[in-house]
Amino acid sequence: MKPRSLRWRLVGNLVLLQVVASLLALLGVIAIFGAVGRFVDEGGERTVQIIGRSIEHTADGKLVLGATSEVQRLLGAAPNLWFVVRNSQGYELRHGDVPPRYVALLRVLDGKERSALDLAESVGRPAARFERIDTDGGTVNVMVQAGAPLSLVDKFKWIATAYLVLVAHTPFVIRRGLAGTVATAAKAEHIDIDRLETRLPMTQVAAEIQPLVAAVNRAFDRLDEGYKRHERFLADAAHELRTPIATLRIQIESLPQNTRGKPRLLRATTRLATLAEQLLDLQRLTREPASIDSVDLRLVCERVVGDLAPLVIMNGCSIAVDAPDSVRVRADVTSIERAVANLIQNAIEHGGEGCEIRVGVYPPATIEVSDSGPGIPEDQRGRIVEPFYRLRARGAGLGLHLVSEVARIHQGRLEIGSSDLGGASMRLVLATITS
């Protein structure tokens, strides 16, 4: 099930709250205004505008009231409304029961722009409004009774506009509020088994979310500690294996030359020793940061081949280095050495008696170990780098897994294919930051 978005939940709830609260407030206002009878055009400003817009001039200079919908609504809502309109020619249009003193006053006010009038001396609310209005047929003087009922649209359109602006901005406000949390989540994406020391920053999140982040960080601390303990244990275990393996090996070698099974015992000891080394190497790779330096891959390969040549020969194989040129790259020399050694050991293991092994170094940054053995079936090439994956009932052990880890920390890759020698080809392709 897709989890519900906090942001849109907040937006939804807030908008709902705003709608309900505003409606309640609106209804309250309408009720109060209705109750005290002030839900009207108190100053008469709206009424003057409506009348002014509706005035039409006949051809002979008389004034008539157009039958616009707003006039009809106004007259329908206020049947007792009076007003009087007068143009510059002295024509007058009267509606309703116009008090005579206001008619007289209109003539007096001819030169004024606008005015609120109260001849009855009522408190707070003017009784009538006078205004000069420009129409198509010239300027007219309009006087209307104040206090006509207002439509809801007129009264509340500004409130409604403000309210819509508020609602429309709610998602953005919430997004800004959540931005720190999103940034923290992005940081969490960078936590990996190789970067266990990364912690989520506390500064970017709100106080309410900080306990969660702190708890997650503490959980990371505990996992980190447990992981390191686990790593140390593995490294110590592998380290402790070395001495008994060395003892075993010396004892077996000291057996008389014609002892039955001596070569097999030696091979088994060698595999045991290799496995212990691979375990240690893997721990080293994950524990220690790579120390990147300028490395000549040709030199590394020559050195490793020199080291391993006795083992190759003991297993009845032959080995050669094909490195036309120096190839300098930036890399961690120890892990490259171990990767090459493991590729060669793998070739010995799988190439079988009498196999040929070739270690090639090619620009920009490739080390290729090929052999003349039976090769690796295409459908197993992806899986052979898995730890302890077994090919043809012989354990590949950790060798190729180790090599692929070395490739990974160098932003490179391990390519498994077939070689022109007839067997497998393992290409360690490093990132091409040549130096």
């Binding site: 060395a246 090996r249 280095v321």
Partner: protein, 224 residues
């Protein structure tokens, strides 16, 4: 040759001792730093084989102690494979060579021979591999009782390979041995020398083989 083995694991120490004994060497065993210091001061050993992790300290402390007291007894340190910095540290602190656990006896013997060759000790005047013997004094090779006829450069090739039996000798090192600093280093003539030595060894039934590691160097090994 008298050898002091400093190793706290008694199984490994015993195995080493009996293997060295089989190669006609006299062996003392010390299982702690303190014991090793006492033994090393009293007796005159030709070679020290020192493990790093001892119950009362780092084996390198023994070597430093001896060097400070003016003893240059060659020391072979048993280290972990692949840990370059550890190797370098061992050599910096006075060790002469290192060997990664687990190691083969052939490898150990090759290192001991190499160390014993140093000017400080020349106890062993004759190096042997298979039926091949080399007398350092007379600079003569023999197969069994018969002398092996070699040119000067062939002899230098075989001597270099023999002294590193079971280990790879890099081309560059062979070239330096044969030609010294001379200008006429001809890399391809090395292969010709080696192939002549190889056929002479084969004809005389020396019981050793020279393996070529193309692009790297050569390796001499007793025939199985």
């Amino acid at each position: 040759l008298k050898i002091l083995v400093v190793e706290d694991d008694s199984d490994l120490a015993q195995a080493l001792a009996s293997a060295l004994h089989d190669h006609s060497m006299v062996v003392d065993i010390a299982s702690s730093l303190r014991e090793a210091m006492n033994l090393a001061v009293d007796a005159d050993h030709d070679i020290l084989i020192v493990d790093r992790g001892l119950p009362d300290g780092d084996g390198l402390a023994l070597i430093e102690f001896l060097r400070r007291s003016g003893r240059s007894t060659p020391a072979l340190v048993l280290t972990a494979m692949g840990e370059v910095t550890e190797r370098v540290r061992s050599l910096d602190r006075g060790a002469d060579d290192y060997l990664a656990k687990p190691f083969s006896i052939d490898e150990l013997m090759a290192r001991i021979r190499a160390l014993a060759r140093r000017p400080v000790v020349r106890a062993q005047q004759i190096s042997v591999a298979g039926r091949l013997r080399f007398d350092h004094e007379s600079r003569q090779f023999q197969v069994g009782d018969k002398p092996l006829a070699l040119t000067r450069r062939e002899l230098l090739v075989l001597e270099t390979l023999l002294l590193s039996t079971g280990r790879t000798v890099f081309r560059q090192r062979l070239l330096e041995r044969i030609y010294g600093d001379a200008d006429d280093i001809r890399s391809n003539s090395l292969d010709a020398h080696v192939s002549r030595v190889r056929s002479k060894l084969e004809q005389s039934g020396a019981g050793v083989e020279i393996h070529a590691i193309r692009g790297v160097g050569y390796l001499l090994k007793t025939s199985a």
